[in-house]
Amino acid sequence: DTAVSQTPKYLVTQMGNDKSIKCEQNLGHDTMYWYKQDSKKFLKIMFSYNNKELIINETVPNRFSPKSPDKAHLNLHINSLELGDSAVYFCASSQWWTSGAGELFFGEGSRLTVL
């Protein structure tokens, strides 16, 4: 059983289209994240949810809208795709942490290519 699974793994689409990526974790964690990894491999946090509540929203354009129907699922919808949105998007989960740091478990990534 995959701990953090995200679909689809590959997305190729035209500029202006709308697309969604889904993520599910079966680790019983209460915190989930979306990260964007660009071509230079830098990991940038986009959103974080704890128990379905949005707790981190890092200056991401309004075209990106996360949704967490329950604490095991976190989806990402992107409207009006632009060339600069091409990247690998990673979903991750962790326990809620009060000291030290949450240890993140990542999905395999969803590679989005906007043409």
Partner: protein, 114 residues
């Protein structure tokens, strides 16, 4: 703004050589994590260090957290081709309220040639 600088950015070595990767900041972190990412996959946690001066070993990998909790190093002894990958450090930052985030370094891309 908290930043983590990793060096070197790229490293290509022969099997059997030793290497050290550095992760430095001017900020204090509650903890420091090291991840390895292989092509086409997500990062996988290698270790978390939380106490200043802490040293942890994972087979041929040795991780150290600086005394002031601002920097860390990863040393690999007798590198093998299986060690090839992108090594990422991430510092734990506990802010006010619900603000918890990891501050990520830019990564060190390691290639170990047979």
């Amino acid at each position: 703004t908290q930043l983590l600088e990793q060096s070197p950015q790229f490293l290509s070595i022969q099997e059997g050589e030793n290497l050290t990767v550095y992760c430095n900041s001017s900020s204090v972190f509650s903890s420091l994590q090291w991840y390895r990412q292989e092509p086409g996959e997500g990062p996988v946690l290698l270790v978390t260090v939380v106490t200043g001066g802490e040293v942890k070993k994972l087979k041929r990998l040795t991780f150290q957290f600086g005394d002031a909790r601002k920097d860390s190093s990863l040393h690999i002894t007798a590198a093998q081709p299986g060690d090839t990958g992108l090594y990422l450090c991430a510092g734990g930052a506990l802010g006010g309220g619900n603000n918890r985030k990891l501050i990520w370094g830019l990564g060190t891309s390691l290639a170990v040639n047979p």
